[in-house]
Symmetry: C3
Subunit: 138 residues, 3 copies
Amino acid sequence: MKTLTKEIWMDIPQRRAIVSIHNEVERLVDKSGVQDGLVLINAMHITASVFINDNESGLHHDYELWLEKLAPEKPHSQYQHNGYEDNADAHLKRQIMGREVVVAITEGKLHLGPWEHIFYFEFDGKRKKRLLVKIFGE
Amino acid sequence: MKTLTKEIWMDIPQRRAIVSIHNEVERLVDKSGVQDGLVLINAMHITASVFINDNESGLHHDYELWLEKLAPEKPHSQYQHNGYEDNADAHLKRQIMGREVVVAITEGKLHLGPWEHIFYFEFDGKRKKRLLVKIFGE
Amino acid sequence: MKTLTKEIWMDIPQRRAIVSIHNEVERLVDKSGVQDGLVLINAMHITASVFINDNESGLHHDYELWLEKLAPEKPHSQYQHNGYEDNADAHLKRQIMGREVVVAITEGKLHLGPWEHIFYFEFDGKRKKRLLVKIFGE
């Protein structure tokens, strides 16, 4: 069994942003030497997501507006969590977009459909945060 | 280690529909010979979901109305993605229902609760699309 | 390859509640002897979730109000599923919070970020239900 474990640090200057991590995950799968297996990619912070969707800036703008409608940031006073912090909305948004993805590895490559692209979604940035890539297979 | 990798083609005549893939996944687990392991089942397109819930047509109708309320298809002009396409809502709906499920295999069978049933949810059909089954274990 | 399979029974006296299962999962990872691998934790019922987020009661209150806004329980008559049952809202809420989490195991421990905490979210309690922990690795 071969495994590879890698923490990736992010430092997003905005509160919210979508960042491609696709090429970095591809590179790690290549480095692992795994031909047949699985890769788990997850945010290590609870106000961020890893998700797979389209690499298209119009859609990314749509996600921002849509999530802000379903789980608005303001007023901060609408959330009990914000008695301590101002990021309750980030904890909600991340549940819609998800914590993690699990992707198959076949013949040494990410086994993805034609438009699947792996992203990190930051909902409470302006500080250093991590995500995890765990590769497991033969 | 035993693995099985299988792409399944779908061609749904409607824009949106829920289709059972449960028996096909069961058949593939059986064929793999894996007694103890994991199976990943994921949509390979970014306007579809794989999810586990009830095999009950009333609930499937409720999902359709509920998702249309949370992420309405029309007017198409409300989404920037629709400058190029008309399926932005499908990209949003799929985030709520999820890209993938991971299910345990124990004693050669899908290890599921009494009402868990595996479905494919098409949000932008009328064309050929794929999903992936990846089985991994001993 | 080492594996550990464990069903955990829950019996929540309220209709809805968030319950920590973090220490129990930690204990099972320890017991499995797996140093490097994955653990899948999933609800076995389709009206409950397993999710990872903050261990903070204000936020848990926010989740309750937010989910009730996105997928209200009442009136029961708004859902076709409730021709047979009264828990359609529970099937919807569980899709937002998710069925399962997959967590890496590294050096014999859950490989989690500083605030990641594993919870069970019951949306239709007052009866015995199960969740599954499946550990897989070396």
